[in-house]
Symmetry: C2
Subunit: 370 residues, 2 copies
Amino acid sequence: MAAAAAARHSTLDFLLGATADCNAILKGLQPIFQQQRMTETIHSWEDHGYLATYTNKNGSFATLRIYPHGLVSVDLQSYNDDMKGRDKIDHILNKIEERMKELFQGSIKRVKRLPAIVRGDAIDRYWPTADGRLVEYDIDEVVYDEDSSFQNIKILHSKQFGNILILSGDVNLAESDLAYTKAIMGSGKEDYTGKEVLILGGGDGGILYEIVKLKPKMVTMVEIDQLVIDGCRKYMRKTCGDVLDNLKGECYQVLIEDCIPVLKRYAKEGRKFDYVINDLTAVPISTSPEEDSTWEFLHLILDLSMKVLKQDGKYFTQGNCINLTEALTLYEEQLGKLYCPVEFSKEVVCVPSYMELWVFYTVWKKRTEI
Amino acid sequence: MAAAAAARHSTLDFLLGATADCNAILKGLQPIFQQQRMTETIHSWEDHGYLATYTNKNGSFATLRIYPHGLVSVDLQSYNDDMKGRDKIDHILNKIEERMKELFQGSIKRVKRLPAIVRGDAIDRYWPTADGRLVEYDIDEVVYDEDSSFQNIKILHSKQFGNILILSGDVNLAESDLAYTKAIMGSGKEDYTGKEVLILGGGDGGILYEIVKLKPKMVTMVEIDQLVIDGCRKYMRKTCGDVLDNLKGECYQVLIEDCIPVLKRYAKEGRKFDYVINDLTAVPISTSPEEDSTWEFLHLILDLSMKVLKQDGKYFTQGNCINLTEALTLYEEQLGKLYCPVEFSKEVVCVPSYMELWVFYTVWKKRTEI
């Protein structure tokens, strides 16, 4: 993808202490735009203040919205992102800020200028959190971008987090996120030596790479998407090391398959694991289990996982963002509806690239009383 | 502060695969705005496409900017944030997205709808990172907001991070950020038992609270701003416990003073400490030491700190965001210009509420050869 120019959208807001004299503000700020030889169009409402639009010959434009309740919002958008253009925008915004401060003599409650939003750039830096907040990442390169039959797979380079795997728009894991892998492996409290482990999903190879170091008997990883493995093997090497270079090693195998039929097969065969680690992407964002098959899917996975789990085995999974309390509660309700009674604990972990705290679950079969 | 209504600013961008037929797009989208009975104003450029502005009787407005290079940007701003209004905006944006997809039949490279930006709200949720990225916090309450003679002091409540101390717009520390306090104390590798410790700044009480638990001989904390202590004592209790309830305890004292004269006094008296922990707010963001007194200040603090540090003592401080490499390099250059030769190590730490990785320094006097 060529590094096309993009539009920079700058904002500047003034929250006033009282209702605004809209006309005085408009009159006060007009000269700044006129000085830039911008063409003005004014729309006025009887009860809702003013909208002034300013267009520049070079294609940039500004809007000045004056709300009578005491909010003044300035927007400036320009294409062709050169430093000279940026300086010019800063200059205009500085002028507006100065003028507003003159007009209001210290009675402005808040002046807020956000970092400019870059729109339509070849590199997309905005990846909202699971709880819907706007966050900008320090992404400077698109490393991998493929559509598989299951999802869009992007690997983007972040200056501070290293390469980040993003599946259909969801930040999955960055090379900085060993904290995620550790958490979903039981936070260092488990002994994997000589154990049988089943990983559901986990195509980035992080869990597999870390467990293989711990001398397990056998790790089986079931990942549906070959293209995730292809991308991560190449570009997430801090996460997966060399473990994805071959789909089979001394103590592990990777099956490129849908995990549901695999789980059913294992359940039928009576195969049992010491650990089942569910690293599937399906995040239970939905909060209406009746209407959403996500919950049915989660329930099926959980039930089948319990069937292939030894009586004293442990099931680990990531849950959700700590703020999505409803979704977390509904997930915990699902745990009460499995074919066998289970107990669970949870842990809150800071995963560097997530920009939000994440809940991880440990589930085990309830010890039956003798 | 009353929970005043604010303006919601929604954006929707289409990055097209090729240059755009601006007129066809305008014609295609016009009916959607007309259906809302919005008043249209069109500005057209010879070489720069179109800007269409739409105003609604209720005071809301939209801009549609069509760039001939293949970017279409829609902005929608409305005051009075009720759910009905939100649904209406979503409805309009959905219609636009549908129509664009019809027009371009799968040749759109990217459709991007960011979480709406809330402008001029009583609670400000946007606190950019040190490296200038836009991030939205999950802030739901202004807990404390005071201007001291030194700075603006805010304590805001975040759903996931607990209360956050923000000094003059800089996110300082949240109740979730024990990782910060641990890092600036040497990451658990130091034995504070029976030691003399000097803390510069640290008004949130986090370091003091953690060190006092470790049975030091005496901790002296020098914080300039009584109002920071007042706010944190009340609202950052997960961080400071009860340690700020009194300015004097069995093994600690808090001096409400500028640390520079205190350091000078101690240096003159020949007082020495095992540990000096610099937790001052002055972040060396500037990258031009010649022109900025921040660097002189930093140098002075460092020099005086070395003077009051025992020969085998350690100096801990926070550095900067890992992305500000120039500022970090300049800081390290300062370390080479002190009155005595020093060595240093650094560590990168994920502080939950920071949304960026942070560098911490350990500095010690170079062992002189015998």
